[in-house]
Symmetry: C2
Subunit: 410 residues, 2 copies
Amino acid sequence: MPELFTVLTPTDALRKLFDHLRAAVPTETIDTASALKRVLAETPVAANPLPSFARSTMDGYAVRAADTYGATEALPAYLTVSGESPMGQAPSIEVGPGQAAIIHTGGMLPHGADAVVMIERTQKTTEREIEVMRSVAPGENVLQIGEDVKAGEPLLPIGHWLRPQDIGGLMAMGITRIKVAQRPRVGILATGDEVIVPQAEPQPGQVRDVNTYTISGLVEQAGGIPQPGGIIGDDFDRLLAAARTALNQADALVLSAGSSVSVRDMTSNVIDQLGQPGVLAHGVSIKPGKPTILAVCNGKPVFGLPGNPVSAMVVGDLFITPTVWKMQGCDRPPVQNRIKARLSHNVASVPGRVDYIQVKLIERDGEWWAEPVFGKSNLIFTLVKSDGMLIIPIDANGVQAGEIVEVKMF
Amino acid sequence: MPELFTVLTPTDALRKLFDHLRAAVPTETIDTASALKRVLAETPVAANPLPSFARSTMDGYAVRAADTYGATEALPAYLTVSGESPMGQAPSIEVGPGQAAIIHTGGMLPHGADAVVMIERTQKTTEREIEVMRSVAPGENVLQIGEDVKAGEPLLPIGHWLRPQDIGGLMAMGITRIKVAQRPRVGILATGDEVIVPQAEPQPGQVRDVNTYTISGLVEQAGGIPQPGGIIGDDFDRLLAAARTALNQADALVLSAGSSVSVRDMTSNVIDQLGQPGVLAHGVSIKPGKPTILAVCNGKPVFGLPGNPVSAMVVGDLFITPTVWKMQGCDRPPVQNRIKARLSHNVASVPGRVDYIQVKLIERDGEWWAEPVFGKSNLIFTLVKSDGMLIIPIDANGVQAGEIVEVKMF
């Protein structure tokens, strides 16, 4: 019976789950260029400094800074142009005392020069001579060797998920292959005598499978590989066999169970047969989603979700998403956007339970309003019509209309 | 010269670009199960109501509500159990006056019944009789036909990007194929005599290509297909030929130019040869990223990015990301997370320009602090070391240390 569940808070439940997980999934070495959103399984180290030569950050003239000291528009310094630093090559010329060399943004500083004067601060007097109208300090307008990265510097920590600039940074260092966590494979089984595949036409009493697809989407967003395993009827032996096979072929398993008490109990019993330690939490103090089962079987996470689609999404967001990241070794996954909005209606809650309220965001007089999308939690389209979730903390007993709330966006 | 640029504000520049874009990319019909993050090119409509039959939301007994009126614990109503509604089938039994049928969550309501009494509100007196200890109203604990979606209802608007619950909702309706915008192909060319492929060992004066990879990542995140076209030297004819080919094979083109004035001018001239109307903005009032070129050539967007990696990322985020979504017909793309944090140092800015400051987020005494990552904007690793960007609006002249700011997370 529901009242006998070991109900944990969401935070405690996730911690307990993580405590029993085995370490991250195996690693693989892949092309850095294809590693967007993948999680590092090694700390790449700079083999060389970046930049590897002193570079100009401006168009202008490479000079010896001392030659410009005291230069003003009224009293410019005169320098002889000794040549040009060509892009992409080491300049063959040197800059001696009283000399300057033409240089472009990104060009290599010639020997002898220690600063760059912007072209706007100079004037040509003859083909071979310029006036410098402002002094520059040594190093001015120059990127020094190793100013971006020093040789031997660790570039990114293990467990970091790779963003576009990280890929760019690794490529800048010539690190074109990288060791990352494999994408965790997540088996997904839908259960229920009433559930049919979406391709079929439901007969009276039948409904199409929804949760396989919402959970697949969440797994994919978290960097995992969803492995849908089909629909299993409400039969203990068949469910156990299917769950064993699915878990063997995956790194984690999600059972989207029916919502009736007998089916939930069956799911829990099946999970307990899959390996040690088995069920860790049977029930979490959230609404919707309370009858959630969290388990670890032989090091692999196993989730028993309530059958109704809104509960399944809430539980997926709260537990499956962070677990899929955690399995990759990532403790700081990308964060979903949160928006402050003014609540349009009173929303009741019960202390001791975290409430998820689906809301639509509406802009009114230049301000965001969060309007609860009412409807039973069995209705998938309440989620489709929502922009995000208002989360009411465990100790609150509701939120008043007009209060500013934080909405977690989908 | 930079001073002659037609400098637009970021908002005006993007609007001008969008005004000249041709409509969205072509559409394609794909499996709904594979359509996560794709953008709808049609409005799916409900062929049937959902649910298609009245369903119980509880474990209990299907009853005629009128039979329970006035029932209390002290004075229960007595009903005869006429049978059970099996999961996944139309029940063969009916519920007559004074009768009840066992029903499970998700089960179909038998003819005659109009409400469900939770099992917890009942007690078995004999094998065939129950006591009902609370009255229910007609419709109580029942999902009505069409309560989730009515037949003929439009399910989602054109231009909507598909989230996990949207995929689930479409599958619930049996919509297993869906028309979406094709993923826009974005050609990317790096230019510069000094730029080499990351696989090569740089000689003095050479640097590895970075922007091809950061821009590819941004394009991928926005649902596009990056088409890297290699590195072209600073030669007008070769760049024009490569740009023509790349744009022909793509829906948009990004030229990551060098940063010297002469190279920028070359890029601008190349872009003007690619089609009408050509360059729309040469320079945008942002820092870094001012020398950006925005163009539309024969309906396709073309971007000329400053060569330095930080500018390229800022411009990519400001212009390329929304454009790739817009090309798919999506005006409300996924929003990046924004976090409020307290600024650790004074940051200066110039009114009339939007400033992007890279920051690291640090938790101190339970509060987020935004710490600027100082360093020249040519340094890719300032971006790698940052968690997000502090955006200083166009009319501000700096932010004081200690102020609360909004950080746009990567």
